[in-house]
């Protein structure tokens, strides 16, 4: 039910008598329309998370990178903790 898929905004136009700002969003080659009412700052080229035809979030590229650094970070952190414990014992 809460499924939301990231896609790239290809173009933006207005529908429903100019009331609604809609995007054409590219999901791996499949184009679908999504409302941009909830993400007024979204622009062409942004990745947005789309849920039941409404974009609910703009993907933060910087945070996305951090996901992949997590294992290395906790490894470094654990090594630090271990070495500080060893220091304490000696």
């Amino acid at each position: 039910m809460c499924l939301a898929i990231p896609g790239k905004i290809k173009s933006i136009d207005y529908q429903y008598d100019g009331l609604v700002r809609m995007a054409r969003v590219n999901f791996g080659g499949i184009l679908k329309e999504a409302s941009l009412d909830m993400v007024p700052n979204a622009k062409v080229g942004d990745y947005v998370l789309v849920h039941v035809g409404v974009a609910i979030s703009i993907v933060n590229e910087e945070e996305a990178e951090k996901t992949f650094a997590y294992l290395r970070e906790i490894g470094d952190l654990d090594e630090l903790t271990e070495s500080s414990q060893i220091d304490r014992y000696h």
């Binding site: 809460c2 791996g28 609910i56 996901t67």
Partner: protein
Amino acid sequence: MKHLTEYRDPELVEQYIQELHRTATRPWTIMEVCGGQTHGLVKNGILNLLPDLVTMVHGPGCPVCVTPINLIDKAVYLAEEKNVILCSFGDMIRVPGSTKSLLDAKAGGADVRILYSPLEAIRLARENPDREVVFFAVGFETTAPANALSVVHAQKLGLKNYSILASHVLVPPAMEAVIQDDDTNIQGFLAAGHVCAIMGIAEYGPLAERYRMPMVVTGFEPVDLLQGILMVVRQLERGEYKLENQYARVVPPEGNPEARRIIKQVFEVVDREWRGIGTIPGSGWAVRPELAAFDADRKFSVSIAKAPESPDCIAGLVLKGIKKPHECSQFGRACTPERPLGAPMVSSEGACAAYYHFSSMSELVNE
């Protein structure tokens, strides 16, 4: 697909599995709240790869599953007796009411339509000015902005033939209800990422503090789920209980203020009955009284007698994580996705459907 495929990388998944095996030294039980996460865990075989010490139990985060039987009966009544175009998401159409589902009503000639978005219902209402269009608006906080937006659009466009039958539920009160249930035994939570994309993460810090449980806002792909589980297990092993955000690429701490503004414009907080669980105070959203013209419940003032649930279905225990789907005597026997006794066997996010579709039945039976 960018921002999707890389979170399904088998090598990275393997690294996380190994790290989890290294990290867990004592038995821990963790609940993932969201049905989308349940499906992610079962479908990708993650449950079978976790250390034996880490048990995942599945939460009530399937809006379709907890929609009261009475509301489904109302929707069926509207479709059959009031000649409305009754539309909703595919899952909702298939859930059994007391005598039939909306799909059964459709087979009997009622005008029931499956839509991808409530905004499509607005289009339908414009194209059919002489018919009433009712959208059966189910969902958690994630879906509320879209459903609310349909009402805002209908109002702006001056549509008189559009209304929603709202069945909106809220996650944090349900989490508290599950924690407070004497029969549950949960030590940490994966909080639902897309719910938090709307609501922000602030609600979960006090919950973590009050119940001394780690809460990690988590995404839906295999790497997300494993990272979330690892973050919870690391906290548990250290005796910590804080709020962390694994899914920051999608969930800013403040959530989506614009979405919340639109929700507030259309909905107000009410007590809500959860199918299989009971009434939870302050756990739902209903259409504000001043928008009664867009509220199908008020517009058609339908009164349907409350019908009992199937006595053989243990959906309530499954939704609270007390029982696993295959611990039900009816699972895969009298209850299948084609002939379901309860909603969790129907929805694409229901725990029973996940186990039925993606687990090895022989393994489950031998367990």
